[in-house]
């Protein structure tokens, strides 16, 4: 292989303004984090509501939540993104459509699409984690809470959810990392997040190996830090006397 290695490339000028290539990576990382965190907020909030709905008595609410999960889990993420970005805006009321297509910058419209897409997609997965967490609790906990006079809402708020969320921290961590990794699909609708910036660096500099090595390293360190953060959370909320907590 006749390849000219140059690890100093990251500090060289891009020729665009006064930026060096490292600036592009930093900017890409910023977008990646902005997409993933905003998507995660939607996923966690909506997923929790749906997960609770799936465990409620009655038929209608669990059926709605189940239909949601099946729909969003069984369509590829990329297809969903194209639908949100290319199709949904055309279905909006005209003023909203004009705002999306002309009123905001292309970066902002791509950002909104990918945040909504990742948030709703991941919500389906969070829903399943929350549901299994609640169903893993002994049935007697629900009865005990009701017997004390708690309403259904209070039973979930004070008894079931605090326990369920503790149980599902490990699988939730995995979803949390997934949303960061999945955010790379945004590069396909022109959002200059980490992957898109990496490709741009590779094309501008022709140093494709260095560019992708650094990108790999950034994704790796980012996800390792998130994992560290989540295990810190897990330790902090651990209950003495159970589930690996100290006696």
């Amino acid at each position: 292989m006749n390849y000219h290695w140059d690890w100093g490339i990251f500090f060289k000028s891009t020729g665009v303004g006064s930026e060096i290539y490292l600036n592009w990576f930093v900017s890409g990382l910023g977008w990646t984090i902005a997409v993933a965190l905003a998507g995660w907020i939607i996923a966690l909030a909506l997923g929790s509501v749906l997960g609770v709905m799936r465990t409620l008595p009655g038929k209608l609410l669990p059926a709605i939540a189940t239909a949601y999960v099946e729909l969003f889990r069984n369509v590829p993420l990329l297809v969903q993104l194209f639908i949100w970005y290319f199709l949904v805006p055309d279905l909006l009321p005209t003023p909203l459509e004009m705002w999306f297509k002309q009123g905001i910058s292309p970066a902002t419209s791509a950002y909104l699409s990918v945040v909504v897409c990742l948030g709703l997609f991941t919500a389906a997965r969070v829903c399943e984690q929350v549901r299994t967490g609640i169903q893993a609790l002994p049935r007697g906990q629900n009865n005990a809470a009701l017997a004390m006079g708690f309403s259904t809402a209070q039973t979930y708020r004070f008894v079931l959810l605090p326990q369920a969320f503790r149980i599902i921290i490990p699988p939730l961590t995995s979803e949390f990392l997934n949303i960061f990794k999945n955010s790379s699909v945004a590069s396909l609708i022109g959002l200059m997040e980490l992957l898109a910036q990496t490709k741009q660096v590779a094309e501008f500099s022709a140093n494709i190996f260095e560019a992708f090595t650094l990108a790999t390293l950034i994704y790796f360190v980012l996800n390792m830090s998130l994992m560290g953060f989540m295990s810190w959370v897990e330790k902090r909320v651990r209950i003495p006397g159970m589930m690996g907590g100290s006696k």
Partner: protein
């Protein structure tokens, strides 16, 4: 003495399977009634119908003048006035003992944190566990957890207490510490309905004994008649007693 709990012609089905058949009985104010019978005879189901943890399809149950089966009844309010103790304790594992005792007082009865805390500690002292107030349920033995569970129910100032096999999940050594608390409670005049196999407790403490088999009430008589005049008992009750009284 007026009836605190009256159960009239209650029947219940799971699908086609009838679990309760025309059960009629009652518990007067200050009375201690023991419900016994073989596994699957419906005793736990019956006691859970009293505070509507289990729905029933036919008949009526009146607790302190309020119909449990009436759709207009405020069930959380009714349940907050009836204490219940479960086979598996069902303390809330993510809350400290102090919080377990206080949470329903605060969230359901609207008491202040301090008031709830003081009341909880007083009751904890009464069941001999004041030194464990700061611990979590998982750090206590089964017997200790069940005594806390009794204290937690008493903290709501219940008009009656329901016990659903309170000693069945305990090591033999720990059964007495729980029965002692229950005996003391009975002597103070608490209205109690206890599903239990502890015939010694029934003999010493109960006023009346109900014997159930296959979802029906087979015997409902005075404690002295139940244990004393064994030949006047039904065949099924005699069989049960001969097995259970051998040890």
């Amino acid at each position: 003495m007026s009836a605190m709990i009256s159960i009239n012609n209650v029947s219940k089905w799971y699908g086609d399977f009838q679990v309760l058949t025309d059960c009629t009985t009652g518990v007067k104010k200050g009375e201690v009634v023991v419900v016994c019978g073989p596994s699957g005879s419906g005793k736990s189901t019956l006691i859970k119908c009293v505070n509507a943890l289990e729905p029933f399809q036919k008949g009526e149950i009146i607790v302190d003048g309020i119909s449990v089966g009436d759709p207009k009844t405020d069930l959380p309010k009714l349940r907050s006035r009836v204490g219940m103790v479960f086979q598996h304790f069902e303390l809330f594992p993510h809350l400290s003992i102090t919080e377990n005792l206080a949470i329903a007082q605060v969230k359901v009865l609207g008491r202040s944190q301090e008031e709830a805390r003081d009341k909880g500690l007083k009751l904890l002292d009464r069941v001999g566990l004041k030194a464990h107030a700061h611990k979590f349920p998982g750090q206590l033995s089964g017997g200790q957890q069940q005594r806390v569970a009794i204290a937690r129910a008493l903290a709501m100032d219940p008009i009656a207490m329901l016990f659903d096999e309170p000693t069945s999940a305990l090591d033999p050594e720990m059964i007495n510490e729980v029965l002692d608390v229950m005996t003391e409670l009975a002597q103070e005049g608490m209205t109690m309905m206890c599903v239990t196999h502890e015939m010694g407790f029934a003999r010493r403490v109960a006023h009346r004994v109900i014997f159930m088999d296959k979802g029906a009430i087979v015997e409902d008589c005075d404690k002295d008649a139940f244990f004393g005049d064994i030949n006047a008992r039904s065949e099924r009750a005699r069989q049960f007693l001969s097995k259970i009284l051998q040890h």
